[in-house]
């Protein structure tokens, strides 16, 4: 029998408005993505992608989003992501766009990629600091990062992301 394969799409929400990230929640983002799929791929595309579609993980501080869909329809999903132009909550519309970072077959591969990506992003933030105060702040949060081993699952590590 055929295995149920899924694809996990890792993306980040990029917006000029700093309030946009605060208003990210899984429902608004899910609705925005499904609306974009319906516009770009019609009823068939919407039904195809909605079968196993959820927002698996959301980080409002960094704007990182992990979406899940079926393997057969991940191309429909990925091609519709550039058409998400705004997020709407409580009658407020924030223009933004989604940057696709990684497509993986499991949550674990996406997590590994995200840890690596966050590391490089922190270093780049440090380089782009304009004044000393920001530099001190970032250095402090970098040094305070720690790896905590969860008691319930052995060997599961999560990097503490100190940026906001």
């Amino acid at each position: 029998h055929a295995a149920l394969s899924r694809r996990y799409v890792l993306c980040e929400v990029v917006s000029e408005d700093s309030r946009c990230r605060q208003c990210i929640e899984d429902r608004t983002l899910g609705l925005a993505v499904r609306d974009a799929i319906a516009r770009v791929h019609g009823d068939y595309g919407l039904a195809c992608c909605s079968i196993s579609f959820t927002v698996k993980y959301l980080n409002a501080y960094t704007g990182t989003v992990l979406l899940r869909c079926r393997k057969d329809s991940y191309r429909l999903l990925c091609s519709a992501l550039p058409f998400v132009r705004y997020l709407e909550t409580r009658a407020q519309r924030y223009p933004c766009f989604l940057n696709t970072l990684h497509v993986g077959g499991t949550i674990r591969t996406c997590q590994k990629f995200l840890i690596q990506y966050n590391r490089t992003q922190l270093l780049r933030l440090l380089q782009n600091c304009t004044n000393e105060e920001e530099r001190q702040c970032i250095q402090k949060s970098l040094l305070s990062c720690s790896l905590t081993e969860e008691q319930s699952q052995s060997g599961d590590e999560e990097e503490d992301d100190g940026t906001e």
């Binding site: 319906a38 791929h41 019609g42």
Partner: protein
């Protein structure tokens, strides 16, 4: 009111847009001939788009708030083959 050629093309594109979205509506479909009296037409589409076009035409149910249905009589990669319908062929 029966649709003219432009309205017929608009109907086909609308059907594609409903079922397959903007990507479907952008599929290059040509109306080669159209007869307003019999409401029959010959459409041309790239062969990779046949499934999208046929499914969109099948699921289109309304034209100007009146019920309608598309009936596909014949499909062929060659235009010449459409001049005779082998379903109406009578063997003497």
């Amino acid at each position: 009111a029966r649709p003219n050629a432009a309205q017929f093309k608009q109907l086909v594109v609308t059907a594609l847009r409903e079922l397959h979205g903007e990507v479907g509506a952008a599929l290059p479909v040509d109306v080669l001939t159209y007869e307003e009296k019999t409401l029959s037409a010959i459409l041309r589409v790239i062969s990779s788009g046949l499934v999208k076009l046929w499914s969109a035409l099948t699921l289109l149910g309304f034209y100007q708030n009146r019920r309608c249905a598309f009936r596909v009589l014949q499909t062929s990669p060659f235009l010449l083959a459409l001049s005779g319908n082998s379903r109406e062929l009578v063997l003497d």
